[in-house]
Symmetry: C2
Subunit: 291 residues, 2 copies
């Protein structure tokens, strides 16, 4: 199962291009944004956008603005999640977190700036897409990140622990905190490729199953993964008494659920009669990833 590293390079190049075009004063803001954006991420979400577009024969360079916008949102969420008041993670991808490197004030504001600039990147999609499509993309992202998405999931995560919540809350957190941004990456890839309603529906199912599997594997890696490989402190979920799939279902059953979700993800798109092999491959990757 090889990960599309050539696409990672292309995404990095575009992120570099967009960040460079924004640079100005004060320098520390751009340093902090750049530090967190280039901390060695897998670019999983932009790559999903690109691979879905590829299945419609839409070239990667035609979807880079929206793909990079989602990576900005993802990076913003990581910076804020790592803050002392939230998850208090001092390490991210093997390096000091943004607030350790630049201070808490700059980290909060660098996160805010990446979130703000993500809209700027969505609007750059105008170069390749109609006004209607760009507005639809903005709407999708707003829904996926706000009070009905990522941030709601993060708040629920913050106020919950394994003693006071059950399965329903666990699913709410996974579905919103991680799931919605993965789901919207897939949907944006389809929308920007002018997918029809049926195709969008099937890709959405793919994104939902993939997102859940991704988070279950994250939970499992936090429990059994190696800190060196993952690049951040592991076992933190247990320390924080967070409710996770392994804490609720046990490791074995969690792995089975993840496997089932990946199967469902793949099944969702197999009858579309589109070249989806790359999306099948990346789904298999999610199941086997070590970091």
């Amino acid at each position: 199962m090889s990960y599309p590293l050539e696409l990672v390079k292309k995404v990095n190049k575009s992120l570099e291009y967009y960040l460079s075009s924004m640079e100005g004063e004060p320098k520390i803001l751009f340093d902090a944004m750049r530090y967190s954006v280039f901390s060695g991420g897998k670019r999983f979400r932009p790559i999903l956008v690109i691979l879905v577009a590829k299945s419609f024969k839409v070239s990667h360079d035609k979807v880079m603005p929206i793909a990079c916008a989602i990576e900005f949102i993802h990076t913003f969420s990581l910076i804020h999640d790592d803050l002392p008041a939230i998850d208090n993670d001092k390490l991210r991808r093997g390096r000091p977190s943004c607030h350790i490197k630049f201070g808490e004030d700059i980290a909060i504001l660098a996160g805010d700036a990446l979130f703000s600039e993500s809209l700027n990147l969505v609007l750059k999609q105008k170069k390749y897409s109609s006004d209607e499509v760009v507005l639809k993309l903005a709407e999708e992202l707003s829904e996926a990140t706000g009070t009905s998405g990522m941030i709601a999931g993060q708040v629920m995560d913050v106020i919950s622990n394994s003693e006071n919540v059950g399965k329903e809350t666990l699913n709410f957190i996974h579905n919103n905190k991680t799931g919605k941004l993965i789901r919207v990456s897939v949907r944006c890839g389809a929308i920007v490729s002018n997918a029809d309603n049926y195709q969008l529906k099937k890709f959405t199912e793919y994104g939902e199953h993939l997102g859940l599997a991704f988070q279950i594997i994250d939970d499992i890696l936090d429990e059994i993964g190696e800190e060196k490989t993952i690049g951040k402190r592991t076992g933190t979920d247990k320390d924080l008494m967070k409710l996770t799939y392994p804490s609720y279902y046990g490791l074995k059953k969690s792995k089975e659920i993840a496997k089932k979700e990946i199967k469902l993800a793949k099944n969702s798109i197999t009858d579309l009669n589109l070249p989806i092999q790359y999306l099948i491959n990346i789904a298999d990757f999610v199941l086997q990833r070590k970091s």
Copy 2:
């Protein structure tokens, strides 16, 4: 100089409507958003949008989505600015700041959520405006808040103090941290009313002068205003050794500059042959406000 209180009521009603429409789980997130949005603000920015539109005979209800979007952005910026790592303000408009009331984690995320939902509100402007206009509004807001606007100004403010910076930095901070959002409120009011290029240019000048005057008066009030009237701790700029207009120019000269800026603001729009009396009134109000 009377402030348009009937418009404050209308804006509050719309903010209430939009917030209610967003409510769900987890409750604490919506409680924190609502707490900060309804902390008795003047609604200065939405009212600017409405008054500019009024001068084009566009009714207030046709610009409420964009007006409320800007108030969401303003509230987000206040919540984050008040955080311990930034200005460490425990009081805001006479009540405990969001992080004192709900905890730092919820405050950070409630700010993020308001910022995210501001885009949702911009998109609701589609009900009254063309796709092209809505995209233009989104672009304006992205520019005004991000790395070329409000957040850049806030970062510069955080890293500067009166000993290590000069007039140029002072102007950078005022122009970006406060000025850009006031400027963009005026611009959005004009754009949503389909103003022509000349009108937009003149309104932009109005907004720029008004924004600078607004911030100078803010600096003056921090030095000589009464805590009870302002609703937050005063004298904090001095304590934090912040560079302000009074610390740089002295009180008397600062007041003169503010007065001159208000005059310039008013002059910018007098030859437009539009009914701008309300905009003249609100400019006079800025100069005379006590909180």
